[in-house]
Amino acid sequence: MKYVIVGNSAAAVGCITGIRKVDKESPITVISYETSCYSKPMIADVLVDIPQEKLIYRDEKFFEENNVELILGQKAVKVNTDSKAVVLDSNELVPYDKLLISTGGKPFIPPIPGIEKRGVFTFTELASAFAFKNYLKEKGAEEVVVIGSGFIGLEVAYFLRELGIKVKVVELLNRVLGRAMDERGSEIVESLMREKGVEFIFGNTVEEVLGDKEVSSVRLKSGETIKADAVVVAIGVRPNTELAETAGMKINQGIVTSDRMETSVENIYAAGDCIECLDITDGKRKPIPLFPLAFEQGFVAGLNMAGKRMKYLGGIPLNSLKFLPVPVLNAGTVSPPDNSYEVIVNDQFDKRGYYRKAVIKDNRLVGFVAIGEIDRVGILTNLIRQKIDVSDFKERLVSLDFGLVDLPKWWREEKLKEDRTAYKDWRAV
């Protein structure tokens, strides 16, 4: 058996971990055009000079110990499904018996005139983070415009303030984290960002990037022109399906997979930001480009590739803003789309520095927000995952001392006494 993995981030490492649970011997080959296995969610930390070794997610020892051959700095350009081989940009062929495509996401770049100018950056790769940092230094940048107020946009803006650079965040919606956070949460995050000196321009968008070859300013939809020594585009990532397309597999918004992470082409699996994932909070399949989900999908793919049949539990959208002094976590549906949801709030942010919110539908927790005090909220994430009936203790969901004693006794028997904590044990009840 010969396993090949294209990509070298969370899903790839998850896949190696999964394969090695079952098959300790067969060779694994990892192909990546990048040169190290670094932590994707940590690249913005480059701006505040995180030590290089901290960026490494898995070092060479990990790959050696797991008998993994690394082909780095070379790009997989095609999958030849007839001869079962991956074609590299050097024309070299890498044969496979089972292949994982974990090619990740690519930043969405809107078709704005001038966006190709020097000085416009995205933030999904370590190389681009370093290029941005160097550009700021080279230009002695004083002012930066960030397009988009999602997690990456906010993080970059925050770190730029640490460097003493003026930052304006331009956001189409009327609040930060509009797609991920509820209104109160957005308000709190915005106030923390403003305290740091970040400026926001809401309900507006960049219509043109101005400057000769290099960006010097941007023109907004409102007509105003603002100075920009550099621009960061952070309005989301899309599944990178370029390689998958060469294999002729089924692709919707992302690569389509079965519950066992199989694609529509035999012997090829897919995991991570390049796929469409089942969102267990609404039952819909969509790209959910998040590190923990990518790892877990990769892990499940690895088990199945090695012959252990296992179904993916499904994904929950979840986020943590790791750069703020105040921890901000959320999971699932945080803004109810209609009045069939019940919302329980414990907002003590102004007096005691914390905010908790739970969103319930049909007696099941479907989402929560925790700001300031976050200890033990993973219990809530699991209530979402296992779809446990919370009707007997729903008022307690937003209390800081909510714990396992609030859960049904049968759950504690099963998880604590019987120790049913294997992957399959976490399915909905």
Partner: protein, 152 residues
Amino acid sequence: MSGKKRKLMKVYPIEENCISCRYCEVACTMVHSKSKDPVKAYKLENLLPRATVEVKGAVSLSLMCRHCKHPFCFDSCISGAIQVDEKGQVHLDEEKCVGCWNCVLVCPFGAAHPYIREEKRHSFKCDLCGDRGFPACVEACPNKALVYDYER
């Protein structure tokens, strides 16, 4: 995954025996301190227990890392600070941890905790008292509400 039992010893709580005395919390904080003094550990070293005593009416129990057969914290860890050894024990390297709180967000037991004091930010959890060979909480428990046993 093979269905075979792992040779891992863990701490199992028995809620029927728990009297919510919190000796486990005190013992935990003490043995993880520099001073090895329960009061100094809490007051001067700002340490927090890795075991959590929960109380609701007549029910109470002490809860710490379950070293899950499938640890979601390991999946979610972006820094590589969380690793699983060959026995199945889950380790959290507090120096390597960058405080992203993903493990806090996904632990079904609420057993990975955030440590947030000024510049020091990292997660922490039960390490089964690896340094001393036997979990201090189990030793401290006066009513056998915590037992150290092979994985079930």
